[in-house]
């Protein structure tokens, strides 16, 4: 029930006085209300729950967490680095 899914804001508009947006979830597009994330705009990622963006995904924090995890990964492995870039997922 408390599921929220990350999606990318592709287009922002106004509808009956409410800030709405089209959000792209890996190719599937849906409407969501942006009233609760006034700081978010086109190109930003937001967490969407029942048609509402409830938080903006903090790209720096996401990158930092993954960096830390991967460092740990390599320490544990004590072997060669993983092939490919660390965190670029298209």
């Amino acid at each position: 029930m408390c599921l929220a899914v990350p999606g990318k804001i592709v287009e922002v508009r106004e509808s009956s006085g409410v800030r709405m947006a089209t959000i792209d979830f890996g190719g599937i597009r849906r409407e969501a209300c942006l009233e609760y994330v006034p700081e978010a705009g086109e190109g930003d990622y937001v967490m969407v729950h029942v048609g509402f963006a409830i938080s903006r995904v903090d790209a720096d924090e996401a990158a930092r967490t993954l960096e830390l995890l991967r460092e740990m990964d390599q320490l544990a492995e004590a072997g060669p680095e993983e092939p490919g870039g660390p965190d670029e997922v298209p």
């Binding site: 029930m1 408390c2 599921l3 929220a4 899914v5 990350p6 990318k8 009956s16 006085g17 409410v18 979830f25 890996g26 849906r30 409407e31 969501a32 209300c33 009233e35 609760y36 994330v37 006034p38 990622y45 967490m47 729950h49 029942v50 048609g51 509402f52 409830i54 938080s55 995904v57 903090d58 790209a59 924090e61 996401a62 930092r64 967490t65 993954l66 995890l69 991967r70 740990m72 990964d73 544990a76 492995e77 993983e82 965190d87 997922v89 298209p90």
Partner: protein
Amino acid sequence: MKYLDEYRDAGLAGKLAEQIRRTATRPAALMEICGGQTHSIVKYGLDELLPREVELVHGPGCPVCVTPLEMLDRAHAIARRPEVIFCSFGDMLRVPGSRGDLFQIKAEGGDVRVVYSPLDCLKLARAHPDRQVVFFAVGFETTAPANAMAVWQARAQGLANFSVLVSHVLVPPAITGILESPNNRVQAFLGPGHVCAVMGWREYEPLAARYRVPVVITGFEPVDLLEGILMAVRQLAQGRAEVENQYARAVTREGNPEAQRRMFQVFETCDRAWRGIGVIPESGYRLRPEFQEFDAGRRFEVESIRPEEPEACISGLVLQGVKKPHDCPAFAKECTPQTPLGATMVSAEGACAAYYNYGRHLVRHAE
């Protein structure tokens, strides 16, 4: 998908499990609060990656499971009325009241509709001015801002034919209830990431301090959950009891101030009955007096109903982490998702249903 796939990386998950194994020195029971987390844990078999010392018990965080039978019966009575268009999130449709579920009411000619967003109900109300549109507003703090916005907008747009049946529940009072229980064996919590995206984690700090229990705000993907477990196990090993945030990409300490502001304009806290558990003080939201004209409970007189729960069901203990689905004699026998006896078998996020859907009863039988 960005921000999802990288948190499902099997290699990373394996390394985290390894770290947990190294860190866990003595037995500990950890509870994940949220039903969505329970679902991920059982789906990906994360509990089976853990060392024997670390046990996961499943929490009460499934709003569908804890909505009292009495509230369901009330919703169903309203949904049966001919002038009503009854709107609900999809997961409430199969939940049985004392006399059938919303699906059955729909089959019998009731106008029951599944909405994706509560704002969809306002469109319906505008399109059908001669009908009464009622929305079943369930959920935790994650969902409350969306439901609050629907009521707020209905008032702004002067929609007289829209109302809500509110049955909101809150996480911190439920945690307090679990910690106060003499049966409690939970030593650390994985906090509910999306509830905290809205509320932040300040409310969990007095809990962690008072009961000396680590709380790690955790996300929903396998890597998130394993990292959350590692952080909690590390706190236990080091004798710390703090609130930590594993889910920093979506959660801040303050949460979402805009969402909180709107929620508290529309809702106020109240005592609330939890199915299988009983009344927990100050554990829910209801409409503020200024919004009572939108209260479906007032708009539609419904005779008061005193339903009875099946005796065999121990879902109250499952919801509080005292028992596991396997401990129930009816599990996977009389009680299955097709013939649910209790709350935790009804919703896909309930612990009993998650165990059943991912074949845990089969594994157990094979042992």
